[in-house]
């Protein structure tokens, strides 16, 4: 049966801020003006169409191949309607047509994002028609929890929140705790500056996340769960709440799901602006209505989490990958990526790069492919200086290491980390001590104050970095910077403090000459061959 032509309009927050909603209204008006029946040309709000920097985006599934248009406004509505019902796009849209064969689109492999940009995030019927919840149904009817965990273990999926802990192992740990209540928690407290993968998934395909969480809950024996979303994402919260309500009304959540004995209650918990709550023990305290202060591990949340019960915590992307893994099999997923980092990873590409937006590629793709081929390099054609990954916990990878494959281990070896997936490209104008100072300021603000190395150490580091930024540092400051970074790294209580020195350490490692050149009397520092702004 031929699908009637449709216009898919990005209605995620990026394109909304670029005027996406007004455009959709104009399209509906133009369709009426053309005397077309709504059934003859569907105008559908969808989630992220990837190339956020060129919004608002409209995908045209007309009689011919799909066409994508960017930067379109209300005045293009008539031409877009015409493109929807005929196969050409006309001159009016020539400047707005985006090439879907461009590497930005062609090199992507959507697994987590397969529904993003296709389903209407506010319609459960649309999600069901796309196949969402089919795996939950199959799992409940045909598989035991052990079989589900086995499939996830076989997939080799590792936690996409940044640390890369094997997901199957974590699920087993929770499932094999002594009998009693268990919880599933989705960490959607995406606080790393430069990261917007989870926001995009929540705004674009919330039912897929709910399905993944429900499968996880079944696999570990949990009957209650929470999605902890940062308050800075109002549209994501609104769509997730709506999706949960729709899922409840269709008995995909609640008691006796799908006629089985499986029960699951899911709730949204909204953060209140504390980066440290992305740390799992702090997040659990915040869900319980407390100050989000981390606690020493062990016990790990998998053993003792919410209200002392075993608690499974995974990131948005991890849960969202699960339905596809169940559908295609763990072996299929494991065949993508590298030996130790399997599957695909979603990156949020931004900064000094031509194509900014959402990118999903197989693990092991060289960094250069991501930032130069997919991203298109620096807008003015100048060379890339560094790529920042892992947010305030990660580091800056220098241009000469761009051929590194993107996987957990390779990025760690370079002194950075995968992190949640933010990738910020930096051009020649960016000063590395200033970048380090920028991140340290962030860590000072976000330190919860519980342990001294982080609370006081980050302040001292920021003050030291000020001296470099203001070009009044001495060689002794450079030594002090090295020593203090090590101290904060090894003695802080939680991941925030332990990784807070990483942006400094990685820029010291790859761009030490810039620190040396920033000393008050550069001659007193070794070989001050610094890159000047």
């Amino acid at each position: 049966m031929p699908v009637p032509p449709q216009l898919r309009c990005c209605d995620a927050s990026g394109c909304r801020s670029a005027g996406g909603q007004a455009l959709r209204t104009a399209l509906e008006g133009a369709r009426d003006a053309a005397g077309l029946d709504p059934a003859a040309l569907t105008i559908k709000p969808v989630g992220c169409l990837r190339l956020c920097g060129s919004g608002p985006l409209v995908a045209c599934d007309g009689p011919g191949p799909t066409q994508l248009f960017g930067g379109v406004a209300a005045e293009h509505a008539g031409a877009l309607i015409a493109a929807g019902i005929s196969s050409g796009s006309g001159d009016a849209l020539a400047a707005h047509r985006l090439d879907l064969e461009d590497p930005f689109f062609a090199l992507q492999q959507p697994v987590v994002l397969e529904g993003c940009g296709h389903v209407n995030p506010e319609s459960i019927d649309d999600a069901l028609a796309f196949g969402t919840y089919a795996q939950l149904h199959r799992v409940l009817q045909e598989l035991t929890p052990e079989q589900v965990r086995d499939e996830v273990r076989r997939s080799g999926l590792r936690g996409r929140g940044g640390a890369g802990y094997p997901t199957g192992l974590k699920w087993d740990t929770v499932a094999l705790q002594p009998p009693g209540p268990r919880y599933v928690v989705c960490n959607a407290d995406e606080g790393d500056p430069g990261a917007f993968m989870d926001r995009s998934v929540l705004e674009s395909d919330p039912h897929r996340l709910i399905e993944g969480m429900a499968i996880a809950a079944y696999a570990v024996g949990a009957e209650r769960g929470f999605v902890y979303v940062r308050a800075e994402y109002p549209l994501a919260i609104e769509r997730l709440r709506l999706a949960l309500q729709q899922a409840r009304s269709r008995h995909l959540l609640g008691n006796h799901i799908d006629g089985t004995t499986f029960n699951l209650r899911l709730e949204v918990r909204v953060g209140a602006g504390a980066y440290v709550c992305g740390e799992e023990t702090a997040l659990l305290r915040s869900i319980q209505g407390q100050r989000g202060m981390p606690q020493p591990r062990p016990p790990f949340p998998a053993q003792s989490g919410l209200w002392g019960a075993p608690t499974l915590i995974n990131n948005v992307e991890t849960f969202t990958a699960v339905p596809a893994i169940l559908r295609q099999g763990g072996d299929w997923y494991a065949a993508i990526g590298t030996e130790h980092s399997k599957g695909t990873k979603v990156f949020a590409l931004s900064g000094a790069v031509v194509n900014t937006g959402l990118v999903e590629v197989p693990m092991g793709t060289p960094l250069r492919t991501v930032v130069e081929v997919i991203g298109g390099g620096v807008p003015d054609g100048s060379p890339i200086k560094a790529v920042q990954t892992g947010g305030p916990s990660g580091g800056c990878i220098p241009a000469e290491r761009l051929d590194t494959p993107v996987d957990y281990e390779s990025l760690l070896e370079l002194g950075s980390m995968m992190g949640s997936g933010g990738m910020v490209v930096m051009g020649g104008a960016t000063s590395m001590p200033e970048v380090a100072r920028h991140f340290m300021g962030f860590s000072v603000n976000e330190s919860c104050g519980k342990c001294v190395p982080c609370r006081a150490g980050t302040v001292q580091l920021a003050q030291l970095l000020d001296r470099f930024v203001e070009r009044r540092a001495t060689p002794a400051d450079l030594e002090r910077l090295d020593a203090l970074c090590q101290m904060v790294k090894v003695t802080s209580l939680c991941g925030l403090g332990q990784s807070a020195p990483n942006p400094v350490l990685s820029t010291l490692r790859w761009f030490r000459h810039e620190y040396e050149a920033a000393c008050r009397e550069p001659a007193t520092c070794v070989a001050a061959g610094g890159v000047e702004r």
Partner: protein
């Protein structure tokens, strides 16, 4: 010399509660209603504080006391939570607010210059919650709109892709987004 990070933000107001000797005022019925909706569960505290802040624009000492009484929690616990999270305001907000994003992507694309331009324009200091009494400018550490960097929020409206390198165009965009020119340049 050791300076300590301001882990607990605004403490000034709290001292006035502890020293207050007047009898507690009767509970605000709207706050009582918010608490009832959550069944007074201790884990709902953050959600309750969100909703009380929505009612009043900020969390006044009286409101915190009402929440503590209504939820049967120690006032220290309620204040501890309210002062921990950045989004809870313990002081009345200014009538208009602007938040400039200084996340990494915005930073790389000149967010700091945008902040400086607005400081000049409004005649306020970045991150001074009192501002000039009408306008206040604060920084935020990432709005997840990195694809449109640099961005800012003016009274709840997201403004994107600011032309940092073109001072006149930038001034025009700031003007159009509702930020008044309050200083003579």
């Amino acid at each position: 010399m050791l300076t300590v990070a301001p882990a607990v933000a605004s403490k000034g107001r709290w001292q006035t509660i502890g020293m207050s000797t007047s009898a507690p005022a009767s509970t605000d019925p709207r706050i009582a209603q918010v608490i009832r909706r959550h069944g007074a569960r201790a884990d709902a505290l953050i959600e309750v504080l969100h909703q009380v802040q929505e009612l009043h624009g900020y969390l006044a000492p009286e409101s915190l006391r009402d929440v503590a009484t209504g939820m049967g929690l120690p006032l220290s616990r309620v204040h501890g939570v309210a002062s921990f999270y950045h989004l809870f305001r313990l002081e009345p907000p200014t009538a208009h607010r602007c938040a400039v994003c200084l996340g990494t992507a915005c930073y790389v694309k000149g967010g700091a210059q945008v902040a400086a331009a607005i400081e000049q324009r409004l005649g306020v200091r970045l991150d001074d919650p009192a501002g000039d009494g009408v306008w206040a400018l604060q920084h935020v550490s990432c709005l997840g709109a990195c694809g449109q960097a640099p961005v800012l929020v003016v009274d709840g409206e997201l403004v994107t892709r600011l032309p940092v390198d073109q001072p006149e165009a930038l001034a025009a965009r700031l003007e159009a987004s509702g930020l008044p020119q309050r200083t003579i340049t």
